[in-house]
Symmetry: C2
């Protein structure tokens, strides 16, 4: 059984290389670079030859399991161009770890994450001109793993394809931050105990599109996903969720714990670390020192009570695309809970975290999380 090995990489450069379009014309996830990486897998021989070739369509038998039973999973991370022009990744080891956990959950093959990082670095090196240097722009990296066996039997796929495509993307916020309104509808449930909500599976996304459209038709941009009769908060849209409360002894930043229903977001983990380091005096954010950082269950009743008492300070989503996405309104049980935002569109905590994380991601300050592709 062969393992995934970057040393076996074969490169065939595109003969019709395109240029990256002007960055102001970019729409998220619709423009792709000149090359892509593919690595096939087979249950008998293991991982095959990694290939970097011209970006090309995938040709699959119509009975391929991915079209029928959804064995598919993905990751999302970005390459950033630092002030010296060097290209950097942000905590790619976390993405590899989660991708392997997702692969296990779908009985798809696991692999050595360090080897895939090497291959991604090589792909980035080849398409390096597509990493924008304009502020706030980056190159979105999409590793994907699909079951490809041509069979209608419902069982472990005996064949799979790992591929990586790259898409230059703009800043989530152009000049003005637009806070989003959420609908908290307990009748639509994203994940549940014993399910697969903590893995980054395609299966967790398609069923969330209709609820999002239904919320949008009522003037809410995203869903606030609740769980159970107590209406526990879990996630927001396709992001993790943070709530800031003002308690008697200072601010509390709350995010739901990794209880099996929550995606272990890399941004979520990074924001928690930044906050904890701030409280411990290991780094400095423009925030008060006495912040309580809580990974704990929080239910809608507590949000309602806090809002009524003037103690609901902020709410925001966290994810790779936007880093943080502030919330100014939550529709729940027929009325709206207002969430304060400052003139900039953020709350104080969200803005401080966004600025700090951007500074690390774009290499304006050195940090072990930020990995130059030349390293």
């Amino acid at each position: 059984m062969s393992t995934l090995s970057a040393s076996r990489l074969e490169i065939t450069k595109s003969t019709s290389a395109r240029k990256c379009p002007p960055v102001n014309e970019l729409v998220f996830g619709k423009t792709f670079t000149n090359h892509m990486l593919t690595v096939p897998w087979n249950i008998e021989s293991g991982w095959g030859t990694p290939k970097i070739e011209a970006y090309h369509p995938l040709s699959l038998d119509p009975s391929a399991v991915v079209f029928h039973y959804a064995p598919c999973l993905f990751e999302g991370l970005k390459a950033y161009r630092d002030p010296k022009g060097e290209i950097r990744l942000f905590r790619p080891d976390k993405n590899m770890e989660r991708m392997n956990a997702s692969a296990h959950r779908l009985a798809l093959p696991q692999f050595d994450g360090d080897e895939l990082i090497k291959l991604i670095k090589k792909l980035l090196e080849i398409d390096q001109e597509w990493v924008p240097s304009e502020p706030g722009y980056s190159l979105y990296i999409r590793p994907t793993l699909i079951g490809t066996q041509a069979s209608l039997g419902i069982s472990q796929s005996t064949e799979a394809l790992l591929f990586v495509i790259l898409s230059p993307v703009g800043p989530y916020y152009s000049s003005v931050v637009k806070p989003v309104a959420l609908e908290a509808n307990p009748d639509r449930v994203r994940a549940w105990p014993g399910g697969s909500g903590s893995s980054k599976l395609g299966a967790n996304y398609a069923p969330c599109i209709l609820p999002q459209m239904e919320s949008a038709s009522k003037g809410y941009q995203q869903n606030l996903w609740l769980y159970g009769e107590e209406h526990w908060l879990t996630e927001v849209g396709a992001m993790n969720l943070f709530i800031v409360l003002r308690n008697d002894d200072g601010l509390e930043v709350v995010t739901p714990p990794l209880n099996g229903m929550i995606l272990p977001g890399v941004t979520r983990d990074s924001l928690l670390s930044l906050l904890r380091d701030h409280v411990a005096g290991k780094n400095s954010l423009p925030l008060p020192k006495n912040i309580k950082v809580s990974e704990r269950e929080i239910k809608m009743g507590e949000i309602v009570d806090a809002a009524n008492a003037g103690r609901l300070v902020e709410a925001f989503g966290s994810g790779t695309a936007a880093v943080v996405s502030p919330v100014d309104r939550i529709g729940y049980k027929g009325s709206d809970i207002k969430v304060p935002v400052t003139e900039s569109g953020f709350g104080e905590v969200a803005e401080a975290l966004l600025n700090k994380l951007k500074s690390i991601q774009w290499g304006h300050e050195e940090h072990p999380w930020s990995v130059p592709i030349s390293s």
Copy 2:
């Protein structure tokens, strides 16, 4: 906006037509006929031209949403060759109804089911030599609908592809029926209130493969899917579930109700109808008349109690592939509940229903459910 219309069908016959292999060489879902049907859809122009062409790979952009977010759904039905040699479908209108419900659930396009039935009949006519005449053999029909837009945005797919492929299949049971052992593990949950378990989505299948493999490693062929703290029974493997109990006043056949977590199986519905007609004297099964037919919640505690009291008579799954699949053992909380089976491997109720339904499906008796493709 164009609707799906069989009148627009374009046919291009394969130039390298293969013959159906000897039926005893068939493995479920691995052999496909010479032709396939495709119909593209676009959010601006609606349904495109239906085409019957040689069976061929699908070529899709690697950013196609189906590979990332799992907008995919399917149906399964069969074509049967009757004693006169004519080809028949079984309740195809039910599959069309459910396929449209699944499409709605994924924000994929809906269509006129009668038109798709016409197209499937045409495809069957062209590949009619692939409908086996050997007893118990049939031609499995797999209509599939996938989102195909090339975009990494998580939203309604602006493009889709409906396709139908055909696979000749053998009888689920060769000569000997092998009852299956189930593991009832409350830690693995297939569906939940507010989720998508009542639609036939790819997303409901891939996450069930690992639990099935885990059960298989312990000697159980399939999962008995439970829900909630009371351990309510929902489905078995990829089939609906029937339990037969002996109450003081006669037999009770129980299947969980369509509560949003249960797939509305065509076989399930057909078995319920056959039983109810039997009780009402409208048809005759070789079973006692005083059977209570119940669509109701049933929990593991009731199964355990019934087994201990000698009142657990049968358990079986129902689905298109096997019609009925008898169960002889349920692993639960560390021990096994034995379920009686007769020498033939079935219970009395399962066997009577299987024989009746097969008789209708293969046209040994006339029934409005069985639809000749020439009609």
